[in-house]
Symmetry: C2
Amino acid sequence: MELWFNEFQTDNLSLGARVKETLYMGKSEFQDIAVLDTFEFGRMLALDGVFQTSIFDEFIYHEMIAHVPLLVHPAPRQVLIIGGGDGGAAREVLRHAAVERLEMVEIDGAVVDVCRRYLPEISTVLITGHDKFHLKIGDGINHMAQAENKYDVIIVDCSDPIGPGEGLFARRFYEDCFKALKADGLFVQQTESPFYHQPLLKRLYKDIGAIFPITRTYLAQIPLYPGGTHCFTIGSKRYDPLAVDTAKLPDLATRYWNKEIQKSSFALPNFVKELFK
Amino acid sequence: MELWFNEFQTDNLSLGARVKETLYMGKSEFQDIAVLDTFEFGRMLALDGVFQTSIFDEFIYHEMIAHVPLLVHPAPRQVLIIGGGDGGAAREVLRHAAVERLEMVEIDGAVVDVCRRYLPEISTVLITGHDKFHLKIGDGINHMAQAENKYDVIIVDCSDPIGPGEGLFARRFYEDCFKALKADGLFVQQTESPFYHQPLLKRLYKDIGAIFPITRTYLAQIPLYPGGTHCFTIGSKRYDPLAVDTAKLPDLATRYWNKEIQKSSFALPNFVKELFK
């Protein structure tokens, strides 16, 4: 007997993973949570039926959402992660010696607990703790609304813009990000697929561009996500991601990111550039 | 009622497309041929149950397999396509004014006929013909074995290394490619997924590297193919793809390729670099 989990990436497109074992299925205050062990992706987390991360390819998403923005800022001392309940982004952020304090605000404590138990390779920091790391279970939107001139880098590591993630794609939230950042701060957000979420991408690029002087989208190749290519968008008050002197960057012991990728990931195919015109 | 076609990209991974209509299903001397009209990809060609190309994303594959190598060579006059039965690579090659003669050797005439009928946007050149274009229905391996010092650029636009495509991934074939190329010629081949075909990619990179002085792999993001990222590998006698002065390249009216992509597509993530060590 073969057990398959099919994610409907759109109404007309599905990605199916053959399942070895269902490790966890539960329901939190906010969403359905499942951890499956699959043949192709290893253990993986799904929220409301949508694949979030897997042992097979989590390094790509987490390296790219953390290292790219942190290396655009010359001194990322105060860092905030909104979401990021699996702990992967925090793990990567804490590899940067410049970081003095990392706050993380995740809305769903159940996700943190489940990841601690079933995805320990990803949630290392959630398990062991770290003297620079401060976790708060709470609403990222409220947290952002109250913060002012506080962070160098904000990382919005959220789920899709439905359910608990919805408000994190609103213009009001980007205005609060701007306010929460210092005078030379920047933020990054995962911004979905360039193939399947074009209206969303177009809209948020415009919204962020209306608030931040510099807006840049970069891409990473992530097999777990729809179409296999994922967007990240940076809103920056001062530093332009395209102006980074990559030769001066540190070498990191990474599996996806490197100095050439820091630059090449901002090279957008014409059909993506068209969205931003 | 919903009709879905599921491609098994590996034994443990499937991509499903919801089907509007089955336009063609047949069997040639070499393989099963199907054309499906789908909601997400539009009309698409499948050979032996494997997705080959779709109206939605064919521009990416065809632009990247044609423009990247043709722009590495300073004067690509004599060009050969092995495979390429849908006509998309030929369409892109013929946009280069430098090309004086384009030969194409496709083993399966039935694929050409089916594409002419159901994928006319891709097979334009197969339908209208072109004074520079010469199509031969025949065995690309035999053709290559007989050619000597003849081509500037060879494009191996083949299916997976099972069935009719198998011999096109053999070391003997790469030796024949070398012989068929002029003293400064180069060839390119589609070389599958960096996530799901690592042993193959590792082996052929080594084989090509043992024959050609310069071997380079580049990547393109193609949602239809396993993992959404696809490799292309160049074997070159003289010109290094990394040494191209992209500022001097022509502007082409493309939907994916541009001058930055010509360069950035050769920036490989660390896990891909590792395969080639």
